[in-house]
Amino acid sequence: MKKLPFLALLTLLPFLASAAPSLAGPVKIGLLAPLTGPFASEGQDMKNLVSLLAEELNRAGGVNGSPVEVVVEDDGSAPRSAANAANRLVARGVPVVVGTYGSAVTEASQEIFAEAGIVQIATGSTAIRLTAKGLERFFRTCPRDDEQGRVAAETIARLGFRNIAILHDNSVYAKGLAEESRERIRRKGVANVIFYDALQPNERDYSAILTKLKGIGPEAILFTGYYTEAGLLLRQMAEMRWSVPMIGGDATNNVGLVEIAGKAATGYRFISPALPADIDTPAARAFLAAYQAEYKTLPGSIWPVLAGDAFNVLVEAIKARGTDPGAIAGYLHKELRDFEGLTGKISFDYSGDRVGDLYRLYEVDAEGRFVLVP
């Protein structure tokens, strides 16, 4: 028992030691990303992509004469670890932060950054309420769920389906999108939602669900979850010899979908912000080539690219206004207009949401390529 206080302090020592004092020098840009946990693949791509951008920038002389240092912290794909990671970024003295992916995870970090006066640009958190809190220094490069829901409803109207099934996976993102879409579809009288339920992500056998759906007989399925489940659904539909059009959200924008579903992916449609390949700027094309050269593969999805864009606009703002967070936020709100990003033109509105019509409809062709539907 006597040893107890001593032991506890001993366990505390490493925390104290790890917090080295900050020195003036490089411009620090924080990156909060899920390096471990369920979203690890997105987070690791985010880290790779942002590091590469920083490297290229430093090779070209950095920003305002100083090199850029990316300070990475792992949010562990969970709110609790994200709060601690956010505290660490604050302690490491970053004026601006890129990230993070999951909405609930971002939410856990929001207040900490806000209290420290840090500018945060989320990259994959589409939940509406994040920008509804009136936080002056919070932005995001990804669109909101309601925007995507609107586009989903319009797409279904355009394609002329009357009876549709909506399937989500109970995650914050997928459920939010499913609810938004159902609301819009109902309100506009676009179609009848004859089925609405959630599958369990991470399972591999969805035959029970598909059998049930087949019995109900929708004209199309709107799946709002992630690409792995979408790929499995397509593959197993083909195995059952059941072909019904399936439409997905932007979380299915991942080459992994075609790898999983193979030929069964042909004809699958999804809505998503424009792909880097469809952004016809030399900078975007050059960067993707560099990425391919460095990591032997393209980014798995659109989300790491959105993290890259967050990094780019922050650098742009620092070039213009220095590293004062207040000045950066002001610049992003009022002065940054139609910045040429990797995902198209970027501007932010008064609440920090990205402005502009970002969503496009894509279709998978017979070769497994994602083709823009005009």
């Binding site: 471990t36 369920p38 690890a40 693949s41 987070g43 690791q44 109970n170 339920d197 959630a198 599958l199 369990q200 991470n202 399972e203 591999r204 056998d205 035959s207 029970a208 669900i209 059998t211 049930k212 019995g215 792995t228 790929g231 499995l232 593959r235 197993q236 083909a238 195995e239 059952m240 010899r241 992994g256 790898e259 999983i260 579903a261 193979g262 030929k263 798995g300």
Partner: protein
């Protein structure tokens, strides 16, 4: 009726997979009275090793020989991993309390999972398509893909082999003796350590077979896939009566069927909750699982 039949078959196929994994839990439990929480990870490892050989040898063309080869390869290597796991993480803890070993197993599970993430990447990996036949049979109006039949048949075959081995060979009798009473088995001249090592070869090998089959059938594998399957299979083993080999088979199949029917007739989102509620109800009325456990608490 047709839909019911279809769902039954869906459930049987999933249940076959659960049963195969559950055997690993139940056999280890039999000899060590330990829930090997790292078993789910060994299942995932099997899936990855199968894919590794498949791509390394360029066997994507398929054929039964290729399938058999990767199956044996993955089973062999994972058996080795299981053996090492027991030597490193469990054997030093023999005799120091069951809960101690459980925590070691939980640590091993975290270790394996993250090792796979580092080695094979955090992204889902994909088995190339076209290895198995894409045929679909029709039975009483229900559509049954050939792959499901293959899955069910091969898991049944492996289970029967195991059953035969346990009940009709000398080594199998030794495994049974150690499960029943370790002390007595030792007195009878059985090398208990050897039996335990053997169980840690067989159980993980079956798990690896399940992993390869899951990879071939579903195409997509991920480093953390063992968590969910492990939990389900462990539940199935308990449902059937842990330590009881036919119990694990019955429990696995039953769990698969309950899930499929729950999803079909009650709710998809609630199906796991339904399965767990049923499990709790069954345990209230049969406190040692459906087929019972083979131990007695003498007063």
């Amino acid at each position: 009726m047709q839909e019911f039949l279809q769902q039954l078959i869906n459930g049987l196929a999933v249940g076959g997979l659960y049963a195969l994994i559950a055997l690993g839990y139940t056999m280890v439990y039999g000899v060590l009275k330990l829930i090997n929480f790292a078993h789910g990870e060994l299942f995932a490892l099997g899936a990855y090793l199968g894919l590794t050989l498949l791509t390394a040898l360029g066997l994507a063309g398929g054929g039964p020989a290729a399938v058999a080869l990767i199956l044996l390869f993955a089973m062999g290597l994972v058996a080795l991993a299981g053996y090492l796991l027991e030597r490193v993480a469990y054997r030093p803890l023999r005799g120091s309390g069951r809960l101690t070993a459980v925590v070691s197993a939980l640590g091993a599970s975290i270790f394996f999972q993250n090792a796979m993430m580092l080695v094979f990447g955090a992204k889902a990996r994909v088995y190339p398509g076209g290895i198995l036949s894409g045929e679909v049979f029709t039975l009483l109006g229900a559509q049954i893909p050939a792959t499901r039949i293959l899955l069910l048949a091969s898991s049944l075959l492996l289970m029967l082999l195991l059953y035969w081995f346990i009940h009709h060979t000398r080594t199998g009798a030794a495994v049974r003796a150690v499960s029943l009473d370790q002390g007595a088995a030792r007195l009878m001249g059985i090398d208990v350590n050897r039996v335990i090592s053997l169980v840690f070869l067989i159980g993980p090998a079956l798990g690896a077979a399940a992993g390869v089959m899951a990879g071939l059938l579903y195409g997509q594998i991920k480093y953390d896939m063992g968590v969910l399957y492990g939990l389900k299979a462990f539940t199935a083993a308990i449902l059937g009566g842990i330590g009881n080999i036919p119990g694990a088979m019955a429990g696995g199949i039953l769990l698969g069927v309950i899930e499929a029917l729950g999803a079909a007739y009650i709710s998809i989102a609630w199906k796991d909750a339904i399965a767990f509620c049923l499990l709790i109800l069954i345990l209230i009325f049969r406190p040692t699982g459906l087929l019972g456990e083979r131990t007695a608490d003498k007063v």
